[in-house]
């Protein structure tokens, strides 16, 4: 079945105007590589939409926001390159079933967790979301990781306890892993060894993603360079 010219134009216009659902939007983005005509239409409508965007009244953000963003960038690795890792193909091998889940945090306990100052979307929002879910897994080498996520917010966070501290030239790095086994960095963190820590993953969670953690050289890697110590799926 081939798309008519009208279909392609309709999708491109809807995409640029922002009228698609998140799922439809991802479909368009996936098709951009396959269809030069769709890509050309999206480009034209994108420039058109940008002119609508530039017609709005400008609003100056407070200086504190600039400080916060530039501060966050100092710690945030640019690791958006997508890679395919064969070892991600079967995350099931690394995961612990829901029956073995360890619930780290219940009720009011969440409020006591500390948040990194630069995180735009806190763990509390994810936990409070109507569709919030969680799953836990033990880590090879000790410790427990609980993933909390919300498909509607497209955000995820991890609650970490008793994870080993790493040498100073190593860091933990989190990854979103899609069903094709492609990994995109979700940021790095250092384990404190004993305390419960919460870390909001940088970037958006797509429905069906798994979340994995690897040990990387400090600063993080563009692509996972070691076997993950844990992988937690968000879909059974």
């Amino acid at each position: 079945m081939t798309e008519t010219r009208d279909d392609v134009t309709t999708r491109a216009a809807s995409y640029a105007a922002g009228a698609l659902t998140a799922a439809e939007r991802r479909e368009v983005e996936a098709d951009l590589r396959r269809s030069p005509r769709l890509a050309a239409e999206v480009r034209e409508f994108g420039e058109t939409a940008a002119m609508l965007g530039l017609a709005t009244e400008q609003v100056a953000p407070p200086t504190s926001l600039r400080d916060s963003i530039l501060g966050a960038v100092n710690e945030l690795p640019q690791t958006s390159n997508i890679v395919r890792g064969p070892w991600f193909a079967r995350p099931a091998a690394a995961l612990i079933g829901a029956a073995a889940a360890v619930v780290l945090v219940v009720g009011g306990g969440v409020a006591a967790l500390t948040f990194s100052p630069h995180e735009a979307s806190g763990v509390d929002r994810i936990v409070a979301a109507a569709d919030s879910e969680r799953a836990s897994a033990d880590v090879d080498g000790g410790g427990t990781v609980t993933l909390v996520w919300s498909d509607s917010l497209e955000r995820a966070a991890i609650l970490v306890s008793h994870l080993s501290s790493l040498p100073s030239d190593r860091t933990y790095q989190m990854w979103f892993i899609n069903s094709q086994g492609e990994a995109a960095s979700a940021g790095t963190f250092a384990a404190s060894g004993s305390d419960v820590q919460s870390i909001v993953l940088a970037g958006n969670l797509a429905r069906g993603d798994s979340v994995g953690i690897t040990v990387e050289p400090s600063g993080g890697s563009a692509a996972p360079s070691t076997t993950p110590i844990v992988v937690i799926p968000t879909e059974a």
Binding site: G18, T48, V59, A60, A130
Partner: protein, 220 residues
């Protein structure tokens, strides 16, 4: 060029214009200092430097376009605190994914505003409130949006084009474009707000976007 009227509220624009003229005149005789030329890198060039990990370039991108980004986000979200939060998410995404910016896919500002619009719309749709927006609120928002678009374009020469282009759309096409882009409504929400079939919404929005594209002279 006899009748260019500049209102009081465009005093900043007038100052900028005069400053730009002064600068241009100055360049006829003197070589601009190095810092000037850094400032004149295009957004596209800056984004490529950001992709290479240049934090100074990132700060420059922020300084150049944060007012634009915050303006669009505020229009969509209305709420000041949420708009700041989403603006932060947007700039962190720009930092992290600058490597994905591809000049062959469009301009730098279009790439940035696409991210901004998407993030703002996601925030609207994630909040429970948005699902409760009813017909009345939708229409009222739409009218207010169009009024302020009209107001804005009165005083800004580049937006004169947007205003003129918008006026070439049918009322129904304009309504669809405004609800989608400035209101953040999905196809389905628009169909329910307007009480028309989904297919009709898609067609109106498509035809409106085509008309706008052609009027604004956007070519591939």
């Amino acid at each position: 060029m006899s009748s260019v009227v500049i209102s009081l509220s465009d005093a900043g624009g007038e100052r900028r214009r005069l400053r730009a003229e002064a600068r241009r005149d100055a360049r006829l005789t003197i070589v601009p200092p190095a810092t000037e030329s850094t400032q004149e890198l295009s957004i596209e060039n800056l984004l490529m430097e950001v992709a290479a990990g240049d934090r100074t370039a990132f700060a420059e991108v922020y300084d150049r376009i944060s007012n634009r980004v915050m303006g669009l986000v505020t229009r969509l979200l209305r709420d000041r605190a949420q708009s700041e939060e989403v603006t932060q998410e947007i700039f962190l995404e720009i930092w992290q994914s600058a490597g994905k910016f591809d000049l062959t896919r469009g301009s730098g500002i279009s790439w940035v505003l696409t991210i901004a619009h998407r993030r703002a719309v996601d925030r609207i749709r994630a909040s429970q409130k948005s699902h409760e927006r009813d017909l009345k609120i939708g229409i009222r928002d739409m009218e207010r949006d169009f009024d302020s678009v009209s107001e804005l374009v009165e005083i800004r020469i580049e937006n004169e084009r947007v205003k003129r282009s918008m006026s070439r759309l049918t009322a129904l096409q304009r309504e669809a474009v405004i609800l989608a882009y400035y209101g953040g409504y999905s196809h389905n929400e628009m169909a329910s707000i307007l009480g028309i079939p989904l297919g009709t919404v898609k067609t109106r929005l498509r035809d409106g976007m085509i008309r706008l594209r052609d009027e604004l002279g956007v070519n591939s």
